[in-house]
Symmetry: C2
Subunit: 397 residues, 2 copies
Amino acid sequence: MAPSRAVFTAASRTAVTALRTHPPSTPIQRRCISSFGYEQAKCLVLPNFGEPKDVLRLHGHSISPPTGDLLTLRFIASPINPADINQIQGVYPTKPTFITSLSTPEPIAVGGNEGVAEVIAKGGNVKGLEKGDWVIMRKQGFGTWRTHAQCKAEEVVKIEDKSGLRPEQVGTVSVNPCTAYRMLRDFVELKPGQDWFMQNGANSGVGRAAIQLGKLWGYKSINVVRKRESGHEQLVQDLKSLGADVVVTDEELNSKDFRDKIKELTNGGREQIRLGLNCVGGPLVNNMAKHLSPGSPMVTYGAMSKQPVNLPMGLLIFKNINFHGFWVSRWSDQNPQQKEDCVREILDLTRQGKFQDIPMDPVTWEHTTKQEELVNAVQGALEGFRSGKGIFLFKNT
Amino acid sequence: MAPSRAVFTAASRTAVTALRTHPPSTPIQRRCISSFGYEQAKCLVLPNFGEPKDVLRLHGHSISPPTGDLLTLRFIASPINPADINQIQGVYPTKPTFITSLSTPEPIAVGGNEGVAEVIAKGGNVKGLEKGDWVIMRKQGFGTWRTHAQCKAEEVVKIEDKSGLRPEQVGTVSVNPCTAYRMLRDFVELKPGQDWFMQNGANSGVGRAAIQLGKLWGYKSINVVRKRESGHEQLVQDLKSLGADVVVTDEELNSKDFRDKIKELTNGGREQIRLGLNCVGGPLVNNMAKHLSPGSPMVTYGAMSKQPVNLPMGLLIFKNINFHGFWVSRWSDQNPQQKEDCVREILDLTRQGKFQDIPMDPVTWEHTTKQEELVNAVQGALEGFRSGKGIFLFKNT
């Protein structure tokens, strides 16, 4: 745990708690809460689809005290996921909801789908949630790039035990770790200590989660990465320290040497590579599929290369490789209880130090942060400027 | 049933029976059985892989009387399947077995994988099979383009009730009808009277079988065919008379009109198209997959266009279409009892007039038939010269 993050988080929560118990007299308080109990919220919104830098703008509005089954939330940490950007571009299958309830003349949608927030006020009918509780979103499409939100209690899932967890960890648990978890479990029953899986994009958030969960569950992994001009050896070491058994470049994957190496690794072929995970697409998928045992599933959850998979029929008919997709939004919508269980299990592992979150590149979002800075953070994530996963960390909001 | 075929078949069997009970004095008898009880067999063999016209040759050898658990078979009908030709070309994943036991100086393999034969003699340890019984091959790779064969009893499956069946029907039941049967049953549970399937190559042996089985089981079908320059309307009528609900060309499939028509056919989308069957490959598969309901399987069992399937990731991830292969050889090797049951059920339906075999283009194979004629029949099947499925019908052998 990075000390600076821990300090920030603790300080941030203390400040918020203070805000609720003292009269509105200091400049910080003036920014965050009006004298009538209204929250002064800001959010990154889009009035229509387009490139983030062209369509996103910072919008301010006020939130009245919650009644009935409503909650008021203050966001703590909200990541910038690739799917969030595709959604802004209008190329994602689920569209954000455009609303006029945030005091805009035209309908707008709030960006972002994942995050962790703190309950700061609740209506009289809300059961099982208290001020100070941390929550995550039950479904995609919430709009999490915002300082505050008001919603129904049923739209969130309470984090039962937030002890020992950083907001960044809780705010990024729903998408990538859950994706890795389900893909390793739901398509084939891998035998611990015996079966292997092979994945590309091994350095991605999902890839790193799959390595760690695989290691914990006894599934060995062959991890395909692009060759880096610099820092390649460090990357290999990073992935191995997470538990990767083998790290290989996409070029090496196809060599005769590697085929021999796989034979050696799998104990002369007595162990099997029984699952493929793909977030890249293109010819790499075929090259991976060739190494899978007959009858194995190849599960696609992303298309970073923007190339389709070109399936030779022999792989389907004679080798019986079967091709599936995994979409975490569909899974969580269809399996709400399974999602809660999966999140709790991963957070337990995180608390025990058995599961590490991915490298992050935090962007502090204060009440005074300018629109340009926030929009640049989103556009930068799209263009690969960032050194880790972009994540908004809210401070003094 | 074509009367000429029935007449031929009955005559053929009568002749054979006669051969076994009379002394070897007539010319016909001299051709078929030696005075010492040896069968004079002929078979189409290959010494190495290549084009059928270049490598196939007619080979004669004698078969001694069976002992122990051996049977001597006389073939009655053996089809020419596309996979047989691929196997001769050496491009099929299972290779024929090259042997020297048929009295050749170099190893040779016998062509053909499917067929029906009559037991004409048995060793003392054979139980449950009698002279006159009809049998089919338990596994692929038997080598069925031959007048006679000797094999172990366990290599064949007895046809328990051959009454009312023509040899062509029994000789072609193992591959195409079984493929259609399993694909309609093993990948998704279709609801009778409610669910649809969509298939390309609807005029193929498997396609025609799927139409008929679908009709019997209450599954509605959308059948994609290539536009024929001539005889197209006749083809549409043929498939409809078998039970096809909708017949459409690959061009029509993509039109806006057809999308509207599908909506209308499926009761405004309340009925679902829940299974795709593909033996063509190429872009057509994507165009079909777009019409399937989310979560549906697309099962590939052939690649007539020789084009791979180009899978856009969105179909996999967001629409959850999953892609599988079906290979009847693997299925029958792994499920011998299921194969026996499936064959029996289809033959029962055939006997009841509920299941029609496909149009066939018979090639008579007599003891005097020349090599050239037999090899041309195989090459012609490859080059699409034939008007129906090529099938060897053995006569006076």
